[in-house]
Subunit: 319 residues, 2 copies
């Protein structure tokens, strides 16, 4: 990045995160505001502005001390016009966010899809300087994807590429909100795992998970089967193995199609210890990648964890 | 392409096609040699050289009148070194084909994967000048893929991208030679359709296909169910519908992941009339693409039909 201070904003369905980054991409300060259900657009924008003001006041810089603002949005954007084309769960579709921020901050505003931002952020991690082609996968409520091709964000024809979660891996399988059946995210998202774990907990073999959720099946999270598996619960171990094999199916598909140098996995799931997640995942993906014996895609977790999106959004300013 | 005459060679498992192309990419002359089972490398190279000599003699030009030779290979290549890294069914792995041709032709030799060549060739078709991102799919014995990103061939990290046929769409499904189960090409290749049609022909509802193959089930081809469906045979119509829906599953996956501007479908199947193949295929892909309502990928058949690979190989010389 060029010299200066940059703000990266990562807009999500449950919160908006903003970070101040230095010229080298390092995160200097970070603030978060929660997004509540049915929040109105005006309210959200007011709170976002005050979030940004508080962020720069931490660093003791004036609004015109910011050299650029990058914004990651869960949806499609028109980066050139600074407009959010659509977002699924936020009242921001059709908003020109560049115009909205201009009154407070004179710096140029850059807009990008959130998974693309995270991919860009992760490319800045140590050891990835030379990576030209990579796929970033974020495993959460759904499965999102961001792609880097030749060192640059790959957006597709209409800025909606990377919907990797809506790749069917089980034809005729579980119904997805997108209208298809058998989408990858219905089997390998954190939500899908939590759903499967709750189902396990409701049956005879589910004692360990029932204990972890205190008997409240609505509280079962994707972490619980991993935790129970780590404690030696055989049913949870089977569930986790099945889950990883489903995750691997989609990753292998992407590797066979795109042959990236790096597949980077983010989202809460990626914080599981390597011996529970990344190592068994690698084993399946490496075994199933075609053709066998060729140089293999690196499979790594998100280095910046929950900050990939902020760092990548700030990095937009330097592109 | 720059001024001059170029040779494009398309190496396939059953034959080697060579064409002489003009500076505008137009095919001037074309020759084919069959590749027989267990053909030896030396024999194949001798025949390929004589194929090229006969090709230029048609046009009445000397070997040094050729400005460049492009070669498409079904496998992975090292384009810089002119070496074929591997091919599945041909005795050419490890061959430096640039060295082999140099003694007869002084022109520079360019090497590329065959599906990438076909993609490049199809991009030269009328109406596609401005297409930046496209996916070419060749539906034959298997399903191969070639990708164009930002107007250039996308090769992946180790020149093996585009193995779209080995994308699992039916987890735990039909066994594939690649080691996985449920690969797209086991459901949507021409071979898979022929297999399914032969199965249909062996049962009670298979009279129409049995008639077309003269009772010899080993002769059932992918064309027959289309032909019988066109003649009104209900069982064949069901089979063709199921086939198109499987083909659409993989195409939709690719559109969701890559959002190309154009998906181009080649191989024998693509020569079926639009009302039997492309129109119903479009209907499913457009309905299932996520998110709905965005600009849609064009879905077209290969314009140059069996010549896409030759034309694209010749076009390598001008890149």
């Amino acid at each position: 990045m060029a010299a200066g201070l940059y703000i990266g904003i990562d807009i999500g369905g449950s919160g908006i995160d903003a970070g101040l980054c230095g010229a080298d991409g390092a995160l200097i300060a970070r603030r978060r505001m929660p997004v509540v259900r049915d929040m109105e657009r005006g309210d959200m924008l007011r709170k976002m502005r005050s979030l940004l003001r508080s962020l720069i006041s931490i660093a003791g810089i004036p609004p015109d001390g910011v050299s650029g603002i990058g914004v990651g949005v869960p949806g499609a954007v028109d980066g050139k016009r600074g407009e959010i084309l659509y977002t699924a769960n936020l009242p921001l579709s059709g908003l020109n966010i560049a115009d909205e921020l201009r009154s407070d901050f004179p710096a140029p505003v850059y807009l990008e899809n959130d998974a693309n931002c995270a991919a860009l952020g992760e490319k800045l991690a140590p050891g990835r300087e030379s990576v030209g082609n990579m796929v970033f996968i974020t495993v959460g409520t759904g499965i999102g994807g961001g792609m880097i091709v030749d060192g640059k964000i790959y957006r597709g024809f209409n800025a909606a590429a990377g919907e990797v979660g809506h790749m069917v891996i089980v034809r005729g399988g579980r119904k997805c909100a997108c209208g298809r059946r058998g989408c990858w995210e219905r089997y390998a998202s954190a939500s899908a795992l939590a759903e499967d774990a709750a189902k396990l907990a409701s049956g005879a073999g589910g004692a360990a998970i029932r204990r972890l959720c205190g008997g409240d099946l609505a509280r079962v999270s994707a972490k619980m089967p991993f935790e129970a598996a780590g404690q030696g619960d055989a049913a949870s171990q089977r569930l986790v193995r099945a889950y990883i094999s489903r995750l691997a199916a989609g990753v292998t598909n992407l590797v066979n199609i795109l042959e990236p140098e790096l597949v980077c996995i983010g989202g809460g799931i990626s914080r599981e210890p390597d011996e529970r997640l990344l190592n068994p995942l690698r084993e399946i993906v490496y075994r199933e990648t075609y053709p066998h014996g060729r140089a293999r895609a690196r499979l790594e977790k998100a280095y910046f964890a929950e900050n990939s999106g902020i760092i990548g959004a700030a990095a937009l300013c330097a592109l």
